[in-house]
């Protein structure tokens, strides 16, 4: 019986609430009354009545218990405050250490929360997937799909409700309105983009805004930039396509600004129908071998993902003209795109789940160090209170009450520390934002943040309070009050263990930070195989491109400009690739992704690249412009033959053959995370160039740039002058590591600082405990040096032990991290030796001050009382 069960539960509640003299009859009467109501007015009313009766009893009875516990609480409070006041120094160290630790942890939590909240605002978000491609080796290689896939999927499979493609043309476009010309990133999307995703339109109709091939929508921010306060709808904007044509688009809709937490950060969108006019390589919307499109689908809820994965792979397999399709297709949840995309071909700006894990671990480390600190000082401080425990027990305190008292007291400390921590966060947030490049702010009204605060309080409070609570409450009052118990010595081992523990964590962080920095320096100094210093690159388009040769010659007339070259892709961002190649006469095609770069004749000289065999492109051989190819050593190795010079190489994607005229030494056109990939370099007519490289002399950078600018202006017909240094672009490849290194460095300092605070507190405490001992030693003839030695050697031992524990952990962690890089530094013994030396020095300085103070004190003062 259901109600029967409920009644027994209520019995138990009533039983607790009522005084014992009437409990039994009350329960019986209660049953009778309940039965009566049930009989007359039905079971529902009876149950309702029961609930009302029981719950309205609670407040009045609670009041009683609260009153009495409040009286006790007041006493606990008073004692806690007295203790804080009596040991001002310790309390300060205790709270400061914990507050810094908590501030760090909370800052990191804020950051993690921000990273985790990407793409959560879409209404259909849980049913939107991006289709990603995995190649033969099981490497997730791309977020891009064949061009006809999206519409075909929607037609073929009913469980796919909608689909949209997204293409950014892999470049920026010049956008022009009246006098305003800016270079902008543009998203080219299917009309369903607006209905699938939750990017609301402020003006215009989402159903029709992208229907017309010459329509355009932009964000409110962009509209302000181009039109000011005018009504943007109906305005005509000109965009320079990558076919070098100027196309007019009419604004048909204004988007709300794209939220920061979106992986798609574009301001201007064009309809997909305009793609073939905008992008040079598209001629056929049904070409299955053109894999350059991010494809998103909206599915029915509750579909089977593996099955759909298979279906998509099948569909591509049926249509792909190539004989064997080795790639597999997978669905990637919208919310996972930001953190789980490590693809070669993808939009920029994704986060990384591994960074999140690393940061979470660092946060946990720092909090643990702070907790260990807090526990340490608390046990030391509490051990002075064994008399209090004895007295309380004698008067009649239960053990449970004492446990509650100590836990409560440490929670109270944690609460104070938390308030300090929040103030610290408020103060340091601008700095942290600068470090992380995110506009984070502390929103106290945020429920999940508040919950995590409460969690941190309880975790820290109970972690820090549990040891003293359990340890102290177990004292036998008789022993304590007689003074036979050696309370302090009992906690010594535990406290040493904590010192070792927190120092181990700090040392791990020190070692990791050092190695991260080493690796970054290594990366920066590594010879890349080409000359990157003082190399400026500029985008080529329009009239500049048309006059490229003239400009080149004019630039070279300046004595500080030593070389000019051009290519179709930026040297460090080669994205074009062929899917296979073979030597003429071979039967088997090497199906592997081979990067493909078009350059001009001066390219190799400008970058000072060495050819290991053959010759570079030369104007003496006019056929070079069309029929020659230079390959890199990696590709030569793949082709696997000696004497490649003069052989013909068949390019699978272009279906044409070229003669190999040279082999260039491998150079790193990608970041050092990966090995050098196979590369074909051809020299072709100038219409394909997108970038110009200008090598300038070291001494005259600013004058050369202004010369460059003037020359540019002469030919640009209004195009903005944009230039970058190549080495800065290369640096950006390691931006996330660099940022991580910086953040790590800061937190490493804080971790060490907190550990030292704890050690300082502990040292002064132990010096204080041993005042008499030191006094007697001095009287018996010990020198100050002896005493300093006695006090410090103990701590040094434990710090060394911490080193021994930390080394293997740090070693294995960093070995794992370094595996991310194809080219890495040695970890080197010196890093470990240095961490040992550093931690020992810091510990000695911290302890030393107290020891010297204790050793130099006049023994008469410490012994006078007895």
């Amino acid at each position: 019986m259901d109600t029967q069960k409920k009644i027994t539960v209520k019995h138990r509640i009533l039983g607790r609430l009522l005084r014992s003299s009437v409990r039994e009859p009350a329960l019986q009467d209660f049953d009778e009354q309940l039965a009566q109501i049930k009989r007359c007015r039905g079971p529902l009313i009876a149950t309702l009545w029961l609930c009302v009766q029981v719950f309205s009893l609670i407040p009045s009875l609670l009041k009683d218990s609260v009153y009495w516990s409040a009286a006790m609480l007041k006493n606990y409070f008073k004692i806690a405050l007295r203790n804080i006041r009596r040991h001002k120094g310790y309390s300060f160290i205790n709270i400061a250490g914990l507050a810094i630790g908590m501030a760090c942890t909370l800052l990191i939590l804020l950051w993690i929360q921000d990273e985790l909240s990407f793409d959560r605002f879409h209404e259909n978000g849980s049913n939107i997937y991006r289709i990603i491609v995995e190649d033969e080796q099981g490497m997730q290689s791309a977020g891009t799909c064949p061009i006809p896939l999206a519409p075909h999927l929607k037609q073929t499979y009913p469980e796919i409700l909608d689909s949209t493609r997204f293409c950014n043309g892999f470049q920026k476009f010049l956008v022009e309105f009246d006098e305003k010309v800016y270079s902008e990133e543009i998203g080219i999307v299917d009309p369903s983009f607006l209905t699938m995703f939750t990017f609301p339109l402020l003006k215009g109709d989402p159903q029709t805004a992208l229907e017309d091939p010459y329509s355009l929508i932009m964000t409110e921010k962009m509209a302000k930039k181009y039109f000011g306060s005018d009504d943007p709808i109906g305005k005509v904007i000109r965009i320079l396509s990558s076919r070098k044509q100027t196309i007019s688009f009419t604004v048909t809709g204004i988007l709300e600004d794209i939220p920061r937490h979106s992986h798609l950060q574009f301001q201007i969108f064009l309809p997909f129908q305009a793609l073939d006019e905008m992008v040079w390589w598209v001629r056929d919307f049904e070409k299955w071998s053109d894999w350059s499109y991010f494809t998103y689908i909206l599915t029915k809820p509750g579909i089977s993902i593996p099955e759909l994965n298979r279906k998509i792979t099948d569909l591509v397999g049926q249509n792909d003209e190539g004989d064997d399709l080795t790639s597999k297709f997978f669905l990637q949840q919208l919310a996972k795109i930001h953190l789980y995309s490590h693809f070669k071909y993808d939009l920029a700006g994704h986060g990384d789940i591994r960074t999140i894990y690393i940061f979470a671990i660092v946060a946990a480390f720092i909090l643990l160090i702070a907790c260990a600190n807090f526990m340490n000082l608390s046990t030391a401080r509490f051990s002075n209170r064994s008399k209090e425990v004895g007295l309380r027990k004698t008067i009649g305190a239960h053990r449970a009450q004492l446990v509650k008292q100590f836990l409560g007291e440490s929670m109270f400390f944690v609460l104070i520390a938390l308030i300090v921590a929040l103030i610290l966060i408020k103060l340091s947030l601008p700095l942290f934002n600068q470090l992380t490049g995110k506009p984070l702010n502390l929103n106290l009204a945020d429920l999940s943040f508040l919950l995590s605060l409460v969690a941190v309080i309880f975790f820290t409070g109970s972690m820090a309070g549990c040891y003293p609570a359990i340890f102290l409450s177990a004292f036998q009052p008789a022993d304590v009050l007689k003074g036979t118990s050696r309370a302090f010595s009992k906690g010594v081992f535990f406290r040493k263990f904590l010192v070792v523990f927190q120092f181990s964590l700090s040392i791990i962080i020190i070692i990791c930070t050092t190695i991260v920095y080493n690796q970054l320096t290594f990366v920066r100094n590594k010879k890349l195989g080409f000359d990157k210093d003082n190399m400026i690159h500029l985008p080529l388009s329009g009239t500049i491109l048309a006059n490229y040769d003239v400009i080149g010659n004019e630039l070279l007339s300046n004595p500080h400009i030593s070389a000019v070259a051009a290519s179709d892709q930026l040297l460090t961002q080669i994205f074009r690739a062929s899917t296979g190649a073979k030597l003429e006469g071979d039967v088997v095609c090497e199906y592997t992704s081979i990067n493909f770069l078009t350059v001009d004749f001066h390219f190799f000289d400008t970058f000072d690249m060495k050819l290991s065999e053959g010759r570079s492109f030369s104007e003496e051989f006019p056929t070079d412009a069309d029929e020659a190819v230079i390959i890199n050593q990696t590709l030569a190795k793949i082709l696997g033959e000696e004497n490649l010079i003069g052989k013909k190489l068949y390019n699978y994607s272009e279906s044409r053959t070229r003669q190999i005229i040279g082999i260039v030494e491998d150079f790193h056109f990608e970041s050092l995370h990966s090995q050098v990939k196979p590369l074909m370099i051809v020299a072709q007519s100038s219409s394909d160039y997108k970038f110009m490289y200008v090598k300038i002399g070291p001494g005259a950078i600013s004058s050369s740039i202004s010369f460059l600018k003037n020359t540019w202006k002469k030919y640009s017909s209004g195009n903005p002058f944009e230039y970058h240094f190549l080495d800065q672009i290369i640096d950006q490849l390691y931006a996330s590591e660099k940022r991580m290194g910086k953040i790590f460095l800061n937190f490493a300092f804080l971790a060490i600082f907190i550990s030292c605070l704890g050690l300082f507190g502990l040292a002064s405490f132990s010096a204080e405990q041993r005042t008499k001992e030191i006094g007697i030693r001095r009287v018996l003839g010990a020198s100050a040096g002896n005493i300093i030695y006695a006090l410090t050697v103990d701590f040094s031992k434990w710090v060394l032990a911490a080193n021994v524990i930390a080394w293997p952990i740090a070693y294995f962690t960093m070995q794992k991290w370094l595996q991310n890089f194809a080219f890495k530094t040695d970890m080197g013994l010196w890093v470990f030796a240095m961490s040992a030396a550093a931690s020992l020095t810091i510990a000695l300085i911290t302890v030393g001050y107290q020891s010297v103070k204790a050793a130099l004190a006049n023994p008469a003062d410490s012994l006078r009382y007895e």
Partner: protein, 112 residues
Amino acid sequence: MENMRILSRKEEMILLAIWKLQNDDSAYGVTIRSYIEKMTGIKWLFGAIYGPLGRLVDFGYVESYESDPLPERGGRRKILYRLTSKGKTELLTVNKLNKAMWQDVPPLRGKS
């Protein structure tokens, strides 16, 4: 009369209810509550009786005794209450006190 503890209104009402009901051997929680409700029109919470009732038992104004086995309690005995002599004295004292308080007050006007 020094140091006398004056009964609270609730206690007084419960005492009176028991006094009234105990003749029929039917003074217990349910009946006390319904009697008070009938007399005053105020619906007490069920548990509200047991606070003062428990106090009255503890003071020794009221004692409990067991009835014969009853069918409505599944053959178990019901716990009933009756006043002790101390309780009766107390009730009388309160009554006397009330009367004394009401004497010589100027006449009250108003709806009764």
